[in-house]
Subunit: 153 residues, 2 copies
DNA sequence: CTATGTGCAAATGCTTTGCATAGGA
DNA sequence: TCCTATGCAAAGCATTTGCACATAG
């Protein structure tokens, strides 16, 4: 999504297009996949627009999330993190979280298609969406761990 | 797990057995499946042991979690919630979260056994554990929603 | 007796809010 | 011009921490 499209979309919904909103959106877009937290986004925006206040960043992130342009995740590290929603993704979007280094990688797959049906049948619960977090070790840390173990013997 | 076993386990690991730890453990145990938050646990313990302080509850919950006797979940509602770990469960434990009424139901299944292998192959990420949250509508709310829709036509 | 555990209150850290001013449309 | 958006500082709120005292072993 371009800044122009953001402008249009904001106006469509009756919101105003401001520099602050533009910069917050740009920063999140340019850092796709990094899952920046609110403070990080604040710092990066401030580089381009020093007058901005934290409150505006928080308010803008909420707005963009409500508009469906970005999404928030909570990796239970004390921060709310944001990333852009890619046009083609619906709910096929999950995270691999490395227990060693904290690296976060995205998985773009609809993992649970058939499983949702079973849930529906067994639990009488209509599944609308799901969020999966896999905890484990990324390639780098796994190699390191195996190396360390070898050197012990 | 009984209080007696808790006593033993604490001592094994070099911790002391105290009334505070006993009551916190009992409250979580007796409210299995309710996913109480720290404040709720604090209130319930205080009914039995009025001298207890919040800090002790927080410290005890962390300790019990580290010992693997309880687990914490974050439903992104601002509270950390706790429930007991049943003996037979490893990582076969997920949640159905109703978008309408907020009800939380547990699912006791290892949903992703085969999927983990694919993740491993495709992403070079060794999965140790996973946590799945399904968002949707529970039986009651689903019925209500359908009723409301019918009455509109 | 000694080290760990506890209660209290203060501190922390992220996020939200109130309010006067700025600035889109 | 009018109403939404912003910046600032203060407030909120769950959780953590420092410290003197209590207590399990």
């Amino acid at each position: 999504m371009t800044v122009k499209e953001l402008n249009q979309l904001l106006k469509e919904k009756g919101y105003k297009f401001t520099s602050q909103r533009q910069y917050v959106f740009e920063v999140v877009t340019e850092n796709q996949g990094k899952h920046l937290n609110s403070q990080e986004i604040f710092e990066l925006v401030r580089n381009r627009f020093p007058e901005i206040g934290v409150a505006t960043v928080y308010r803008t992130l909420s707005l963009l999330e409500a508009m469906g342009l970005i999404y928030g995740v909570d990796f239970e590290d004390g921060f709310r993190r944001y990333d852009i929603v890619k046009d083609d993704e619906e709910h096929r979007h999950h995270h691999l979280i490395c227990l060693e280094c904290g690296a976060i990688k995205e998985v773009e797959e609809d993992l649970l298609g058939t499983i949702e049906e079973n849930i529906m049948k067994k639990n009488k619960f209509k599944v609308i969406n799901h969020r999966v977090k896999f905890y484990g070790y990324c390639e780098k840390c796994l190699a390191k761990i195996e190396r360390d173990q070898r050197s012990l013997t």
